[in-house]
């Protein structure tokens, strides 16, 4: 899968979580009255590490929480934020809900779509960016709102969105650092 290699430094599909992460997963399961309570946080952690949730991650969570892998899959598939396929290095989400819509989020989406050369729901050929319209991010007072890996970019217009993408397109280091850098650049 081309997307899997799109995030340099991100572990591959078959990689095993490092020891500290495994200990963290165990601690999360132990934190709740039932081990299953830790499931959502465990999945978040695994997704942060691998970039997506692989079948092996679901099996591991099943073992750690005492439920079947299929039940973990059922939970994963319910929540919008969990990805079961490798994603782009910078997954861009644009709020399409009412407050952002009224403030012109569609224009931002269209501008980004043209700039990146990919339709909403798609990924750029180099796997660096993906573009997705998302539902309300709770940033209604500062819309349109754009989100990259849970980092919000607020009061975005086509120009600002373009500057964010430019900054990210130049970055080669750690994705989180790059996103923070882009946030500064866009101001």
């Amino acid at each position: 899968m081309s997307g899997a290699s799109a995030r340099p430094g991100q572990p591959g599909e078959d990689a095993t979580p490092p020891e500290p992460l495994l200990r963290e997963l165990e601690a999360l399961a132990a934190r709740y009255p039932t081990r299953r309570g830790g499931l959502l946080l465990m999945l978040h952690r695994l997704q942060e590490w691998r970039g997506w949730i692989a079948p092996a991650d679901m099996r591991r969570c099943g073992t750690l929480t005492g439920i079947s892998a299929a039940e973990v899959f059922s939970v994963v598939s319910f929540y919008t934020m969990f990805r079961t396929r490798p994603g782009a290095r910078f997954p861009i989400g644009i709020c399409r809900n009412i407050a952002c819509f009224v403030q012109g989020s569609e224009h931002v989406t269209r501008a980004l779509s043209e700039k990146l050369g990919c339709e909403p729901g798609g990924m750029t050929a180099d796997g660096r960016f993906s573009l997705q319209e998302v539902e309300c991010l709770g940033s209604c007072g500062s819309g349109p709102c754009l989100e990259i890996d849970s980092r919000y970019f607020e009061n975005v217009d086509a120009g600002k969105a373009g500057r964010i993408v430019d900054a990210l397109a130049r970055s080669d280091g750690d994705a989180t650092d790059a996103i923070e850098h882009a946030a500064k650049a866009a101001r």
Binding site: G38, L40, V75, Y79, T80, E135, G141
Partner: protein, 427 residues
């Protein structure tokens, strides 16, 4: 009347513990835990008439009184910070700017309900809120405000921040509990109610962030002070959200009972660029659309009920004239279709079907028969499912049909052929 909830909202990051204590945070909790009895706290909150700010406006003190007085085993407080109602962004301000206010309220509420553990369910997208909250919790544990010997009282108050993963329905309290337990966020059939069988099968109360943020002030300043604000039936201040096409969108604290017009004009500077308003949403997406002629409605749960809508979360969204109502409606119908959990047939199918029909009107392909059909979809699903999600998707749809029927009528297309899709000429 003086504001109290939003005093720290102008800062750029969370107020840390040292500064927060300087501003009086935690002093009330300390006094309450050391000098009061749990039932006295419940009575204060009951007498204050504090109602739940999550959208249902159920009296908080009465909710608290359902919890067992002599619990056999753990009881839980769960904070609903799954702020997902489009047009709503207030709880985020509290968590990101003044997390100790929430934590202080939690400590008092846990004490009042004899709960030793509180889970704060933060919506997955609110990473900043989660980080601010986790930092504040760590500070409190370090300082002995929370933990096994909270505030030196020998009582245990543990606060655990939990993270959702993107599902509007988890704002429904029993869906939230399932999600907290690591399950799909599907609402539970009631009874049993959470106070009997809640999180992890234990007695549980679920409260909204803003509701709990009011609690320290009620106990600090007293019932008469709280009742001096707001309305008879709904005292206190509320965090109004104003978004959409207004000059100054944002969160504004004001007493319950203001008119929507005042909130929009006095707080948010009126419609953006002096444009005309097509419609406004009074309290979040599920409360539906009202025409500008209704701007003088009073932002009070009972008053808006009489208008056939709800106060909801108090998140006002202004739709300008340049936006077609059907386009705005489609945004919401698509949203509700995306967010129904899908367990109950009428809601799963009704949300999807009505979205498809709205889509046809949006494209100018509506049909005269669709009015009856849309009403039947709402009638066949409202009050016919495990939770009130059909009421939520029927909010914008039903109100649009009542107040903006002309927009639909203008978009009835040429009579479509009788044969539905799929029919081909291969005979």
């Amino acid at each position: 009347m003086a504001n109290y909830l939003s005093l720290e909202f102008a800062r750029s990051g969370p107020m840390l513990l040292a500064e927060a204590r300087g501003k009086g945070r935690w002093a009330t909790a300390e006094r309450v835990l050391k000098t009061m009895k749990p039932e006295q706290v419940v009575d204060e909150v009951k007498n204050a008439g504090l109602r739940g700010r999550g959208g249902a406006w159920f009296p908080a003190g009465i909710k608290w009184s359902f919890m067992p007085k002599e619990p056999k085993g753990p009881s839980y407080l769960v904070i609903n910070a799954d702020e997902g109602e489009p047009g709503t962004f207030k709880d985020r301000q509290i968590m990101e700017k003044d997390p100790h206010l929430l934590l202080e309220g939690i400590a008092i509420a846990c004490f009042a309900m004899r709960a030793e553990t509180c889970f704060v369910y933060v919506r997955g997208e609110y990473l900043s809120s989660l980080v601010a909250l986790e930092t504040a919790i760590a500070e409190c544990e370090q300082a002995g405000l929370l933990g096994d010997d909270a505030l030196g009282t020998g009582r245990r108050v543990r606060v655990l921040a939990h993270r959702g993963a993107g599902a509007y329905i988890c704002g429904e309290e029993t869906a939230l509990l399932n999600s907290l337990e690591g399950r799909r966020g599907e609402p539970r059939a009631k009874p049993p109610f959470p106070a009997v069988y809640g999180a992890f099968g234990r007695p549980t109360t679920v409260n909204n962030v803003e509701t709990i943020a009011n609690v320290p002030f009620i106990l600090e300043r007293g019932v008469p002070w709280f009742r001096s604000m707001g309305t008879q039936g709904a005292p206190g201040n509320i965090l109004y959200g104003v978004s959409g096409a207004v000059e100054n969108p944002g969160i504004y604290e004001g007493p319950l009972g203001m008119s929507a017009r005042d909130v929009i004009e006095k707080f948010a500077g009126g419609v953006k660029a002096g444009k005309k308003m097509r419609a406004f949403i009074p309290g979040g997406a599920s409360t539906g659309f009202l025409p500008p002629g209704k701007l003088d409605v009073v932002m009070d749960p009972d008053a808006l009920k009489k208008e056939g809508t709800m106060l909801g979360t108090g998140g006002i969204v202004v739709i300008p004239e340049e936006v077609e109502l059907l386009d705005a409606l489609r945004v919401l119908s698509r949203f509700f279709r995306h967010e129904t959990c899908g367990q109950c047939a009428p809601c799963r199918e009704g949300a999807a079907w009505s979205d498809q029909i709205v889509g046809r009107f949006q494209r100018g392909e509506g049909s005269g028969d669709d009015f009856a059909l849309l009403n039947d979809i709402m009638r066949g699903s409202k009050q016919r499912t495990i939770c009130v999600f059909p009421e939520a998707f029927a909010g914008p749809l039903g109100s649009a049909l009542v107040h903006f029927k002309g927009d639909f009528e203008r978009n009835i297309g040429p009579a479509s052929p009788v044969a539905p899709q799929g029919a081909t000429s291969r005979g």
